[in-house]
């Protein structure tokens, strides 16, 4: 079975966007308006109303940049995992009709969320340019960190999609785990406020490495920890292979359960 049916996956991505804004007057324009309003709100509230600043950064928008740099990727990451968890159950009518393998289903969600993330980050970068925030050569790293992030989300999403067919409660569990994961990652707060023992274990949180990398590049214009990124790449590929093996082992059972 061809599981990498490119035309079909791209058609799914296109349809996903159309379904999201179906019936609305502005249509796909909403995919730009949503992130734009979000960024504006964070900037106005944290920089102007709350006057939140980060020590060591001489910018009025320092906290807003710190927050948005990690929050936008987190939204893409968590939404990809959450939507992938139920994709096989949600699309079981399609799976039974079209000759498509399961790994394609989380893949189209992944691509759809990546497009949304790309739009959001482009708008965010536009804001940074308007406000005169400097960019460094390390900005070239951002797309590669995005690829790593979405590969990790795909590996987790595929495993959860297969397991959720057998354990339906997983959907609720994943929602709660993602909430805990969000607050265990320094996105809203800075890692310096954490107790010493938490600082030591937080390195085992994969999204901490990603969030820290985005914040280093966008806010401080410095190179993120490459050693951590390489370790995360190795872990991501081990997870990808594991998720594929789980899918291979359970494929026929999943079809029976669906």
């Amino acid at each position: 079975m061809r599981w990498l049916n490119k035309k079909l996956i791209l058609e799914f991505v296109k349809r996903d966007f159309e379904e999201r804004f179906a019936g609305s007057v502005l249509g796909r324009l909403w995919s730009f308006i949503g992130p734009l309003v979000n960024i504006l709100i964070y900037t106005i509230i944290f920089s102007n109303l709350m006057s939140a600043r980060l020590s060591g950064v001489d910018s009025k928008f320092s906290y807003s940049i710190y927050l948005i740099a990690a929050l936008l990727p987190w939204i893409a990451f968590s939404t990809t995992i959450l939507r992938s968890t139920t994709v096989l159950i949600d699309k079981k009518h399609l799976i039974s009709k079209i000759n498509i393998a399961f790994p394609s289903m989380p893949l189209y969600i992944n691509l759809s969320e990546t497009v949304t993330l790309f739009i959001s980050v482009t708008i965010f970068s536009g804001f940074l340019i308007i406000f005169g925030h400097p960019f460094s050569e390390y900005s070239i790293l951002i797309p590669f960190i995005f690829i790593l992030q979405q590969l990790l989300a795909y590996a987790i999403g595929l495993t959860l999609a297969v397991l959720t067919v057998f354990i339906r409660d997983l959907k609720e569990v994943v929602g709660i785990v993602l909430q805990v994961w969000f607050w265990f990652t320094p996105i809203v707060y800075v890692k310096e406020i954490l107790p010493e023992f938490v600082k030591k274990i937080i390195i085992f949180n994969p999204f901490f490495i990603l969030a820290d990398s985005y914040q280093s590049i966008f806010l401080w214009n410095r190179l993120p920890d490459i050693q951590h990124l390489v370790i995360l790449t190795v872990i991501t590929f081990i997870l990808l292979i594991s998720s594929y093996l789980i899918y291979m082992k359970l494929e026929s059972d999943v079809r029976d359960f669906l």
């Binding site: 990498l4 070239i140 790293l141 190179l223 390489v230």
Partner: protein, 78 residues
């Protein structure tokens, strides 16, 4: 910085060429996806290590930051 851009361009070019080559070959889809994954893994690690190398060796190695050569006119002869 030109070395950094060139290195990234070379890595991406080699990656895309290999991807294209694998895409055109008739191999079982399981193996094909494994090779795609392996190539992407090598590309990502290559890019990350290039940046680490740039930071350590190339970033401050511009012509204006070089130590003066032995016996150059900048040497203090007094």
């Amino acid at each position: 910085m030109i070395y950094l851009f060139l290195s990234i361009a070379v890595i991406l070019l080699v990656y895309l060429l290999f991807m294209f080559f694998v895409m055109k070959r008739v191999i079982a889809w399981g193996y094909k996806s494994l090779i795609y994954g392996l190539l992407t893994f090598i590309m990502l690690v290559g890019i990350f290590l290039t940046f680490a190398w740039y930071e350590k060796n190339w970033k401050d190695a511009g012509p204006l930051n070089k130590e003066p050569a032995i016996g150059s006119f900048l040497d203090d002869k007094s």
